[in-house]
């Protein structure tokens, strides 16, 4: 492996000036689980690694109306956060299945999105949760939405010398549930064939028979039974990973559902539309037809899981069912 210097600034400003000083010769590193792999594979060969690990206070999760996540917060911290599990469930779903515990102990969520892999597990949960990314450079600070953050595979709006200082997730509307599904071939140490996140805000959290949701019947039967309830979808966001060059929102599909009564037919149509909006590719990991097919299946399932989380929050914090 190529040799490099390892610098450990004490403040963000010091980090910024080092980044500025070394320019292209430097690489910023958080947990290093992407950076070290890339160095070993000779995909990058920095002379200097600038680590954020020497700066105190970057590993905080705060909830003060909005959720604020520092740039050195690890996936494991998120996994253990009760507030994230309850209020921002899709994100908890993502870190539950990311890599392995060993990886989650060191890898950061900021690293995950800055690396900008189309398969990044936290990307679509952040999309549907409406996250904002705070960026700092020598020239100053700016905040961009996570949607405009990704530019292409491995590409973000970050300019040379800039770094991410915080992720901000607004408090969801009342009666909101969200869920993420990583479609993978193994249960650990895998990247998603497809990642699907859904966030749904309903008009209420009570229905006459919440137990329908525990039925083991097929999803369509449960949805048919639920249709009588006349639940209305106030807000919806659908995020798809590995379905396009960047994590994407299925905007058309969302439009079909927003403000409507939830029914099986409608959810099927929504899923179908999301599937058509996506631009999946054939890769060695999976073929496009299968990815499209799975969008159809999983958008519906994640919508169901989101609804379930609104209506049966206690029971479904750790759901074991497929939806």
């Amino acid at each position: 492996m190529k040799k490099f210097d390892y610098l450990k600034p004490r403040t963000i400003d010091e980090a910024l000036s080092l980044l500025n000083q070394y320019g292209k010769r430097a690489k910023l590193v958080a947990g290093g689980t992407d950076v070290m792999v890339m160095i070993k594979q000779k995909r990058i060969s920095p002379d200097v690694l600038i680590s954020l690990s020497g700066i105190t206070g970057l590993d905080q999760i705060q909830y003060d109306g909005a959720l604020r996540i520092g740039p050195m917060v690890t996936h494991r911290q998120i996994e253990k956060s009760q507030v994230i599990r309850k209020e921002f469930s899709a994100l908890a779903d993502a870190v539950d299945v990311l890599g392995s515990i060993q990886i989650r102990n060191v890898a950061t969520i900021a690293g995950n999105i800055c690396n900008a892999a189309p398969s990044a597990d936290t990307a679509t949960p952040l999309l549907v949760l409406g996250a904002q990314v705070k960026i700092k450079g020598l020239k100053g600070e700016r905040t961009v939405s996570i949607e405009s953050f990704f530019k292409g595979p491995g590409e973000t709006v970050l300019e040379e010398g800039e770094l991410v200082t915080e992720l901000i997730i607004p408090k969801p509307l009342p009666f909101t549930g969200s869920a993420y599904w990583k479609h993978q071939r193994r249960l650990a140490l895998d990247l998603p064939i497809l990642g699907v996140s859904v966030l749904l805000s309903l008009d209420r959290n009570r229905i006459s028979c919440p137990d329908i949701l525990c039925a083991t019947s097929p999803i369509s039967t449960v949805l048919h039974a639920m249709e009588q309830e006349g639940l209305v979808c106030k807000e919806v966001r659908i995020g798809l990973g590995v379905a396009a060059p960047t994590p994407m929102r299925a905007i058309k599909a969302e439009g079909l559902l927003r403000g409507k009564r939830i029914s099986d037919e409608l959810l099927q149509e929504v899923a179908e539309t999301a599937s058509n909006e996506a631009q999946p590719r054939d890769t060695i990991r999976a073929e496009a037809w299968y990815r499209r097919e799975m969008i159809r299946v999983l958008v519906r399932r994640m919508a169901m899981r989101s609804i379930e989380r609104v209506i049966r929050p206690e029971e479904t914090v750790f759901p074991t069912r497929a939806w």
Partner: protein, 766 residues
Amino acid sequence: MEEFINIGKRIPKTDAEEKVTGRAVYIHDLKVPGMLFGKILYSPHAHAKILNIDTSRAERLLGVKAILTGYNIPSIKFGFYKDNVPLKAGKVRSCRDEVAAVAATDPDIAEEALDLIRVDYEILPSVFDPEEAMKEGAPLVHDEHVGGKEKRPTNVLNLPWRLIAGDVDEARRQSAYVAEDRFRVTWVTHCCMGTSGCLAQFDLKNNLTIYSITQIPSLAQRDFTEALSAMGLQGKKVRVIKTMIGGGFGSKLDTYAFEYIAILLAHKTHKPVKIVFSREEEFFATSPRQPAIIDIAQGCTRDGRLTFRDVRMILDNGAYTSWGATTPSVMMMPISSLYKVPNVRYVAKCVYTNNTYSQAMRGYGNPQATFAIDSQIDILAEMAGIDPLDFRLRNANTPGEITPQNFKIITCGLRECIDAVAQKLDWRQNRGRRDGRGVGMASLIHVGGGARVYKSDGCGTIIKIDDFGTVNVFTGATDMGQGADTVIAQIVAEELGVRTEDVVVIHTDTDVCPWDVGAHASRTTFVAGNSALGAAKKVKQLLLEVAGQTLGESPENLDIRDRTVFSKRDPEKKSPLGKVLRAAHYTTGGRMVMAEYFYDPANENLDREFKGNLSVTYSYGTHGVEVEVDKETGQVKILKYVAAHDVGKAINPMLLEGQVYGGVAMGIGYALTERLISQNGKVMNPNFLDYKMLTAKDVPNVDPIVIETNDPFGPFGAKGIGEPGLVPTAPAIANAIYDALGVRIKDLPITPEKVLAALKQKTKPQ
């Protein structure tokens, strides 16, 4: 019932602490003074002429001590067919072909040097599909290779595998039901935890010491001795020393280019040279299991008795030929002898392609053949309207049987295995629901008493005992993680009346240890165990003689228990082993207490018709599985897994279960997730991210059931169990998926895509 002190006990592997604390010395840990690091440059093309190799820039790099190419090394040929050379000249035939090698003072420098070597190629037309490769006019992988009566250039190897017993055509005409199918299996690889490597070192007299992780120390010694001759070093000695081995699974049954390259570099530089594979190299530059295209037909009578089995197979040999090309000889075993089938025909061809060359892997052809056979048993049973459980019971092998390949079945617990699995799965209750949940089973036969592949199937043992009663066993066997050392220690300890921890097994050095044909064919416990037992018996006799003199008792009246020799007539007359030994050593005209024994089982080489009693005894087993399939995603979840094995006798139930757990995990990978993805001859997934070996989270609970049939020839009744654990896994799972959904997947791995596509096909309106 005899009371055992060591046999049948759950004794942890003797090297367990060393391994889990990181103290065990693997090839990766080995350092010797002055050592250089070797690295290999591989061809990026599957088939190309080498026009020019320019090493001049690499040679100038500081720290580079030697660069070899196919143009500046002596002609060393290796492999089963002697069609491979350490470094290629003229042309490359696959993407893993070695074209140059560097020795440098540092692995990074060696790597950098590789980047500086320029090779000019002219790309040649290539062939990746064995059926295409067999056609007239296909690109020739080895231009000089000729075959057939006409001795024409061809890609088909001159290995005419052909087994015929009875009259298949007549039996087919007589059959009430006939099933006919094509199955396909693809490359999977061993995934040894320890990557490959070796360290070669010459002394001043040009004798070679090679630190190695081979499964075949004695045969490797011969291969390397031949290589020395080719290098002009006739008569020089080769010493093979094994480090701790991080898994074998058949991957170390051949010698490989990297070993010859290390030898050549060490000789050129007069320095020790170590080559250790990266994980990526381990994936693309070692040899996987053979892919095969299997056309199979089986028939039965109206009441479900098998009438015939007719199998044609094409195996993708890849660009070179390893011992793996002989896997059809093992495939013959299930084809002729799994269940009672009177008429059998098997014809197989191994075909050169520009793919990676394949080789031995746990089961040695048996998993491929059994996938086809036992998947089709379910198909046939359904045609005959018989529950596959009853179908299997009706055709199950029995003790005393002589199979169409002339195997003499001594002990056989197949029925018991089938019954046990059916019971654990609640078969009658759970079968045939077609509601997304299903149960399936499949069985296996494997050699359990050695296998006479070579002229000898022997193994030697030497035992000596020191002044303190410690027993040193020098065995030819190889412990590559499976626990051979522990089992051998248990066997010797039992015979000598000591404890397993009193026995130290040494297997690591050809200068010290006796000869053995290798750790293959699930033979080690049986053959090395019998060999150790034979030596222990001789040593015991000597011990009793020596003790008899000091105790004034005739040896027949003496026995050993709990590290003490005692008189069976007068228990007061006794002496601790150490004391007996000291008496032997500190006496005028004293003696050593040691003995040697060579055990070569009474099995037979297959004759010209590929018939003969290949093994002294055979192991049987049945696996059963309950699955749940997600009909919308095609994903298969294993709810329950039962693995019943007739093992003769469990010498160490803990290690035995370990073999079964590991086998099943490997088998589930083979069935559902694992494959090397090859595109134009290049391995596209040379890493654990994209090669989907199961993780601890994916492996289901496995319920191992041990059926003991106490084989009269096995050491304390034991039969082989190393390979069987993964043989019937894939067909058992395929059968369960069929039971769950009514779709039959005939090619491995059974991915969600295949299941979903088959389901859609099935529900498509006609």
